[in-house]
């Protein structure tokens, strides 16, 4: 990670061409260096953060004055940093009978502030939780004493998590974990605090800035989706081809423990929806043997979505995986103990993340924790089932090979789609799909839960969600269309995004049939579409042209009366309701 001094040098670089974002930073201690670190780290995240910084200790004044600079700035992201030092200061001023109520009072203040902000702004809020200070008034007994500061601080951190759980657009940046990882001595420098009112040391600022940027990246739909593992000396100790299954190191003895714990971590990532793949220079049957027969292996073959073991180079193998999985290289992480392989992959696959694993496997896991590779802003049922769906996709690919013609294959899949408007059950998945779809996304508008609620309650909008199921199983909810009524019989396609897992299944044509029928039913004459190019959505550049829309200036139009139903192999599933 870059030092603060290096981040500060980024400030003189050329930010043109980077995605810009209006960010407000409010703190109760001096935040100038934090702002510099955020903007500097933003450059490395390819973001041009336009930061408005509140004056020193003006959080409440800005939030509760509707005509304040904060509201005039209309930020897209608001970062609020209440420091533990000031928190302790407030606690110190209480009379002793109020100590026990401290966490609740503080939470109520945060909640009121959130309500005030979101009544006029639609910004996402990132709130820093509290790094721990134990004032040593009770020693360890403070954990048994409700009126101690550390008891109240920990309770507040816990209450903040509960609050965040139930509050869309309110995200916690985990300063407490950052202090745990860096140590209090590196987190806070008393002499600097005395001289400058800075509650964060220069040493820890890059960590804080990068963890904040991780959340902003996730809000922008940038997150890691896939972990690719080397095997020998990465997933187990030793070389399976040379040492044999009895001699590889794994289990609860010696260095084997380090590999077992790494596997347990990978398993948890798999359970939370990260796609796990294997890319190993090995003979396939030998590489698979531990997964099948070693009693101490935590990872099993069913945890692995794509298993590649051969003697080809890893760059080609990972490119192959990318085409099966249909996700960007920038959403992949590659773990390998061998520096040569790491460099080769890093240099030849742009965007892929390749952690510089420590030499000692005992240190793998703590190092990986410190990188915070898998930031996210949502978690849903689909995530838990993702491994299965990618394995099913592999089965489909096998069937496909047995047909000469695409049509025969598609017909044999017996595909159906459940079509529904937005509702409270599908909202979390709609939000998630909008955040994650980068390629098949015509206008790349990202939605949050409150946005979706607004659309549900709007009379101008019509929403559609589509699932895709076939004889192998369900892909879940994979496409969303949002239509907005304009004047003169025109229905504008405000959003159209789809998971790339279901490309080439005639889903686009099916969707067009459905939305055109709905538009006709409502008496509209034209569908109007727009393609807004991004770095990633070239795949839908000709989308409207292929579907028979005609271009007029920057928009595409389809005459509904002249529309001919498109040929598709998907049927509307029973239970659908969208008209």
């Amino acid at each position: 990670m870059k030092t603060f001094n290096e981040l500060r040098k980024n400030l003189k670089k050329d930010y043109s061409g980077l995605k810009s974002l209006r960010v407000a930073v409010l703190g109760d201690t001096s935040t100038q260096f934090l702002v510099q670190a955020l903007r500097g780290a933003g450059f490395d995240h390819m973001l041009d953060l336009k930061i408005w910084e509140a004056d020193f200790d003006q959080i409440e004044n800005q939030v509760y004055d509707p005509s304040s600079d904060l509201y005039n700035y209309n930020p897209e992201v608001i970062i609020i940093f209440h420091s533990t030092h000031k928190l302790l200061g407030r606690f110190n001023k209480l009379s002793s009978q109020d100590y026990k109520l401290f966490a609740q009072t503080q939470l109520a203040a945060v909640s009121a502030m959130h309500e005030q902000l979101t009544s006029t702004l639609s910004a996402k809020i990132i709130y820093y939780n509290y790094n721990e200070i134990n004032d040593a008034v009770f020693g360890s007994y403070s954990a048994k004493t409700e009126s101690s500061f550390i008891f109240q601080l920990r309770k507040l951190n816990y209450e903040l998590m509960l609050f965040s759980l139930n509050t869309p657009n309110f995200y916690l940046c985990d300063l407490s974990t950052i202090q745990n990882q860096s140590g209090k001595a590196d987190f806070f420098q008393p002499s600097i605090y005395i001289n400058s009112e800075m509650a964060l040391s220069l040493a820890v600022l890059p960590q804080v800035a990068n963890r904040t940027l991780d959340i902003i990246d996730a809000l922008n739909g940038k997150s890691k989706k896939c972990l690719i593992l080397d095997l020998d000396n990465t997933v187990w100790g030793g070389i399976i081809g040379d040492d044999g299954i009895e001699n590889i190191q794994i289990g609860y003895l010696g260095i084997g423990k380090a590999f077992t714990e790494l596997q347990q971590w990978v398993k948890k990532l798999k359970n939370r929806g990260i796609i796990i793949c294997v890319c190993s220079k090995n003979t396939e049957s030998i590489a698979k043997e531990p997964f099948l027969n070693h009693p101490d292996m935590v990872l099993k073959l069913e945890d692995i979505s794509v298993f590649v073991a051969n003697w080809d180079n890893k760059v080609d193998n990972i490119s192959g995986m990318q085409s099966v999985l249909n996700i960007g290289f920038d959403s992949m992480v590659f773990l390998d103990d061998n520096p040569f392989e790491r460099n080769m992959v890093r240099e030849n696959i742009p965007g892929i993340t390749v952690p510089e694993l420590p030499e000692d496997p005992a240190e793998y896991l703590d190092y990986l924790y410190s990188l915070n590779l898998f930031e996210t802003i949502s978690f849903s049922k689909e995530d838990e089932e993702r491994t299965k769906s990618y394995q099913v996709e592999a089965e489909r690919n096998l069937l496909k090979k047995s047909f000469d013609k695409e049509e025969g294959f598609l017909e044999s899949l017996e595909m159906v789609s459940l079509v529904e408007a937005f509702n409270k059950f599908n909202t979390p998945r709609v939000v998630q799909l909008s955040q994650r779809s980068n390629q098949f996304n015509l206008r790349t508008i990202r939605y949050t839960e409150p946005d979706i609620e607004q659309i549900i309650n709007s009379t101008d909008h019509t929403s559609f969600t589509f699932t895709l199921e076939d004889k192998f199983g369900s892909n879940g909810l994979i496409a969303v269309v949002i239509l907005k009524a304009e004047d003169e019989g025109i229905l504008f396609i405000d959003s159209w995004f789809m998971s790339c897992r279901v490309l080439k299944r005639t889903m686009e044509k099916f969707i067009l049939n459905v939305i055109t029928a709905a538009a006709k039913e409502k008496g509209f004459k034209f569908l109007k579409g727009e393609y807004m190019p991004t770095a990633k959505n070239a795949i839908v550049k000709d989308h409207y042209s292929i579907l028979g829309f005609r271009k007029d200036k920057e928009f595409w139009y389809l005459n509904i009366d002249e529309f001919q139903m498109q040929e598709t192999f998907i049927k509307v599933k029973e239970g659908s309701s969208y008209l």
Partner: protein, 82 residues
């Protein structure tokens, strides 16, 4: 002793150039914050931290406040390196 102070001055000069991102800086023992545009209360903090890191030492809160000139800074570093 005199040689050592010159050596310290040279090392501090390099740190100033790096932190303030100005290759023109040429410090003397009498240089103070008024002489260098980029040297303000904020960059002073950064200079302190970089000097601490370079010499593997910590200054007290009072020391950080007390320096009026580069010479006084060197007094402080020299006292800690004995």
């Amino acid at each position: 002793m005199h040689m050592e102070r010159n050596e310290l001055l040279k090392q501090i000069n390099d740190i100033f150039i790096d932190v303030l991102d100005n290759p023109e800086i040429s410090l003397t023992e009498n240089t103070n914050a008024d002489d260098i545009e980029e040297w303000d209360s904020l960059t002073h903090i950064q200079l302190v931290v970089e000097i601490e890191k370079y010499f593997s030492m910590r200054f007290t809160a009072m020391e950080i406040q007390s320096w009026a000139t580069v010479g006084e800074m060197i007094n402080c570093i020299a006292a800690k390196t004995v």
